[in-house]
């Protein structure tokens, strides 16, 4: 019912995708402290409103996507490939923002 515009496949129903998780998490280097790793693995902002999250287009191209979505209204503001290099290569803005 939520339409997600996959940059590779076009607009599809959300049931073709699998939700990943909070896309704003930055995982620390492998040799970082246990505390830094605990925070990255276990703690979440859990925003009510617009957040960045990951989805995988499992029934389509199987690419991971970074989606900016409102968690109260489900409105999608932006979708781009999760892989930063791919996002840039796909054109558009220099940060790889896809057009809706």
């Amino acid at each position: 019912m939520i339409r997600i515009p996959c940059p590779f496949c076009g607009e599809r129903d959300h049931s073709e995708f699998s939700y990943g998780g909070d896309g704003s998490v930055e995982y620390p280097p492998l040799d970082a402290s246990a505390e830094a790793w605990h925070d990255a693995v276990f703690l979440r902002e859990n925003i009510c409103g617009v957040q960045v999250e990951t989805w995988q287009h499992v029934q389509g191209c199987r690419m991971w996507l970074r989606v900016t979505r409102d968690t109260m209204t489900h409105e999608i503001h932006d979708v781009k490939p999760a892989h930063k290099g791919l996002a840039k290569a796909l054109g558009g803005a220099s940060d790889g923002t896809a057009t809706r």
Binding site: G21, D39, N46, C48, T71
Partner: protein, 423 residues
């Protein structure tokens, strides 16, 4: 407030029913309370009740942003059970079940708790082995009524499941807890509200907390839609909205993600299913029972993506309908009457938090995932105990926010730190 008793029923029959009084007051928000519980759901109401009853405390308020029973308290599928395997969980849920057994008498309110058995269908030899191991643990650690049934015993008890050899999910046996069952969720909300009000608790509805004022490591006051209230101690019991309040108190992040879970009720039917039947396959994939009004009450998986929306999506409706048909094919012509969704606080290991917080006088009750209803009485009991004594009870000593730092995961499913996998 009139007690419910045979004498009062007879008396009011000759009195044009004029002797009944309102079940709880509708007081104005006072400027200050000793204890403020944010969240007027089943857990918040139970907490206030036990603070008054077990600890003799007065001057308590419950702040509810909507109406009593309008949150997850009114949106669940009413299942009560205590078949949990992890230490900490098993003592807690077993205590909760015992509180359920006496709740109607304790609250002087018929919550219609019906111990009708909880039957989890098993479809593979591995599932049977796993159940045998888990249920043996439970039998040895305080839950004596967990049983493993073969096909014959199951067919005799619930004859109309899909036992055909070419069923989509052939049934091999079942994991059963006989003392488990269902209750009328609205009655639990109203029963606790009435009993708490009788003991002097102020229940303030339509009162949304919009800000938390801190000073020197303590909460000083709460800003609400009905005014500012100062509090000696504050408890948060707001389920899926926990992170929002946590953010108002400027406390950072939590091991919680909010997800939505849908539930369904069919048109009323004559008695069709006497037990709670669950179709597991690696999770709570589908569960169904029949309410005393006759409607089939059922649900399935969480919607899988994060949401605060309290409304479901159609792919899950189809999913749940398919599961229903594969388990109870006789439901094919039954009409769906009501459908709704709640916001749930999914935690990183699928288990709850009843604990102190970085602020001295703030206490947290959260992380109930999709299983908060059965926990309601014990949640109130142990949260009240924590708030009154300023230290957690031994039973919930590992149910704190710092358990992951200690390497403790209370993970019934064994699914790891991904909230959606605990649904």
């Amino acid at each position: 407030m009139t007690r419910f008793s045979a004498w009062n029923v007879i008396r009011n029959a000759f009195n044009d029913q004029k002797g009944w009084t309102r079940q709880w007051r509708d007081p104005e928000l006072k400027p200050e309370y000793d204890i403020v519980i944010v969240g007027g759901g089943l857990h918040g109401l139970a907490t206030a009740y036990y603070l008054a009853k077990n600890h003799g405390l007065k001057n308590i308020a419950i702040l509810e942003k909507g109406w009593l029973g309008g949150g997850n308290g009114g949106r669940n599928t009413t299942i009560v059970r205590s078949n949990y395997a992890c230490p900490g969980n098993r003592e807690f849920y077993e205590h909760s079940l015992k509180l359920w057994e006496n709740m109607s008498h304790d609250l002087n309110y018929n919550v219609m708790f019906s111990q009708r058995s909880h039957i989890t269908l098993l479809h593979t030899p591995g599932a049977i082995d796993n159940t045998a191991r888990n249920y043996n643990i439970m039998r040895k650690t305080g839950t004596p009524d967990t049983e493993l049934w073969g096909l014959d015993q199951l067919k005799e008890t619930v004859p109309h499941l899909n036992y055909s050899a070419d069923a989509r999910f052939p049934i091999m046996g079942a994991a059963v807890q006989k003392r488990a069952g269902t209750a009328r969720h609205d009655a639990v909300a109203w029963g606790y509200a009435r009993a708490a009000d009788m003991l002097g608790v102020d229940i303030i509805q339509n009162c949304e907390v919009t800000g938390v004022t801190r000073k020197g490591g303590k909460v000083v006051s709460l800003s609400t839609s009905r005014g500012v209230v100062r509090a000696g101690k504050v408890g948060f019991a707001v389920a899926g909205n926990t992170s929002r309040l946590w953010g108002m108190a400027d406390l950072g992040r939590l091991p919680i993600e909010s997800h939505k879970l849908q539930a369904f009720v069919s048109e009323p039917l004559k008695p069709l299913l006497d037990q709670v039947v669950v179709f597991g396959v690696g999770g709570a994939h589908f569960y169904i029972s029949q309410s005393d009004k006759g409607g089939m009450v059922f649900g399935g998986d969480i919607d899988w993506y994060k949401s605060y929306a309290q409304r479901g999506n159609l792919p899950i409706v189809q999913d749940v309908a398919e599961a229903a048909m594969s388990v109870l094919p006789c439901l094919g012509r039954v009409k769906l009457l009501r459908h709704w969704s709640g916001v749930m606080d999914m935690s990183m290991d699928g288990s709850f938090f009843i604990c102190k917080t970085p602020l001295d006088n703030l206490y947290l009750n959260a992380g109930w995932n999709y299983g908060g209803f059965k926990a309601s009485p014990a949640s109130g009991w142990y949260f009240a105990d924590l708030i009154a004594n300023d230290r957690p009870h031994r039973v919930v000593e590992n149910h704190d926010l710092k358990r992951f730092e200690r390497g403790v995961n209370i993970d019934e499913r064994g699914a790891g730190p991904d909230p959606k996998l605990h649904g």
